[in-house]
Subunit: 331 residues, 2 copies
């Protein structure tokens, strides 16, 4: 069925969205959702949109698009130390959308929603003249007054990241067109890993309790490590020094860099890692790494917060490098 013989909005809701609805959503049969906040908890709220041709390829698998749209929001919650409560969705569909596309989108959204324990609370479906667009508002909760801020890095704190950096920035190149030279001899498993890191970000929800307990500041890496670190330091009125050799790389990224050393800049400056970047007081570093590891999240200390207001310095052997471009911008 195509957009020309389309379902009514009520039928869409009943068939595809109601099965994803959480308790507060009232079965999506009312004009609003209703949540009773848990006493002793603050509400954390974030909104991020993704647009076809800007943030994803129109022919990306619909389930991946859904997972990414929800994942980028849940990643923000995780970096703030919050546990998800639910989300509201605005889905813009172009002329000629197909019910098959929608079914696969909703299947992916349902799986992601279950994985992230983040149920659908409400939504709106509209016609979108320019292609698919998805805006999601996600809600989470943290103990009162405990949201991990972007602004509170302290001089001497260690800078840490979860997981590995740069995979999605390499994956999007592989997804985008003809295979670049560095990838021509790359084993299929490594290529697949990188593309998956671009298509299916894994929000670091498991790290949230360790962040709450130990981090002085945190944000997720959505626009590249260099730009996001600069943003966090600016917000905290600090600067930083990073040891480039301590930035954790996946085997696939190491393979790519061995084939083409210029990729180091892409790895540091580029893209959608959806890992957590945080600062941790030196005295908490061991306990933080231990708590994160116990939750299944590897963390690496890559640098130190310094007094000052310049762009962070990335030291690579004898070279020192600043990334002028600031954050990669989708806008």
């Amino acid at each position: 069925m195509t957009g020309d013989k389309r379902l009514s909005e009520d039928e869409l809701i009943a068939r595809y969205f109601a099965p994803l609805a959480g308790e507060g959503a009232l079965g999506l049969r009312d004009d609003a959702a209703c949540l009773t906040p848990r006493p002793g908890f603050d509400l954390v709220l974030t909104v991020d949109a993704v647009v076809a041709g800007v943030h994803f390829f129109p022919d990306d698998p619909p389930a991946s698009i859904a997972r990414k749209a929800l994942g980028v929001n849940v990643s923000d919650l995780a970096a703030k130390g919050a546990a998800p409560s639910g989300f509201l969705l605005t889905l813009g569909l172009p002329q000629g959308w197909s019910e098959d596309w929608l079914a696969r989108f909703c299947q992916g959204l349902g799986t992601a929603s279950a994985d992230f324990r983040c149920p659908l609370l409400g939504g709106d479906t509209v016609r979108s003249p320019g292609g698919v667009s998805i805006s999601i508002t996600a809600l989470g909760e943290v103990p009162v007054g405990r949201m991990v801020r972007r602004t509170r890095a302290q001089t001497g704190d260690r800078i840490c990241v979860t997981g590995t950096i740069g995979d999605a920035a390499l994956g999007v190149v592989l997804r985008d067109g003809p295979s670049p030279g560095w990838a021509s001899a790359m084993p299929e498993a490594l290529r697949g890993f990188l593309v998956d890191r671009y298509l299916n970000p894994q929000p670091r929800l498991a790290a949230a309790p360790a962040l709450l307990e130990h981090a002085s500041a945190a944000m997720d890496v959505s626009d590249g490590l260099a730009g996001d670190l600069a943003k966090m330091m600016r917000a905290s009125r600090k600067t930083a020094r990073v040891e480039a050799r301590h930035i954790p790389l996946s085997p696939a990224a190491r393979w790519a860099v061995a084939a083409d050393r210029t990729l180091r800049e892409r790895i540091i400056a580029g893209g959608d890692d959806y890992e957590v970047l945080c600062t941790v007081p030196e005295s908490h570093l061991g306990a933080f790494a231990e708590a994160a590891a116990a939750a299944g999240v590897p963390v690496a200390a890559i640098g130190t917060v310094l007094d000052g207001d310049g762009l962070p310095i990335f030291r690579d052997g004898d070279a020192e490098c600043r990334y002028e471009r600031g954050s990669y911008s989708h806008f």
Copy 2:
């Protein structure tokens, strides 16, 4: 300045959005907003998007577009008996957007936000290939367990509406193109009134306390009285009879109907009134009307909830009419 020499997203936020930010928004300098819920209150959440060429004309005044985008959401809160807490905004801007347009949009958004006591809590700005699109998630609060539902109309309850019905459905015709016959001799003041009702919906926030106290069910009229009443009755597993002569019309709408009686159907079936449609037990009717009037909101009883599951009947003299089309759909 045009989109080609555009501001960075951080500059946009600092210049245009930060001035609208509420307390929980942390100056829009973090990745998420943080609200401490008021003990004893539930959170009411709603999301609605408006898209250029679908829900508004691309050349509508930017301040009106902003007011409408926020107003349609605040109208949902009002109908649920909720007081606004704040909103999150996703703004999609097309290639070649101008800073002048954005400045006027944000000026209108700021005025509406102040009028509705609904501050900005967070947002995302993205490129929109298909024209301006705006998605807003609005939050409000009601005493625990008291949200006025769509689903709880009881047999024998009176059906009431606030304000006047059909003005926006006539106003959009005047806004849309060559003046129709019925409008050719209409005094300018009446034309202006109707167009303003289309451009600048007035959410009935002042009616929220009276609804909380007296209404068994409520929703806002966003898709036409006939369709929205059908929706509310279906959700409550009831039907209804409406006396068409009791539907409150503005002087401008009365003028239009006197010129062209066929407009009665457009008034009943059409568009964006953003008045509140509610059901009130007979024993509460007087107190409800009094409380609403004391808050500056006129209400009219137009019909009665009946057992049954057919479409509501609109009685007009000796004629009885059902509106098959259901809700007007923007989708």
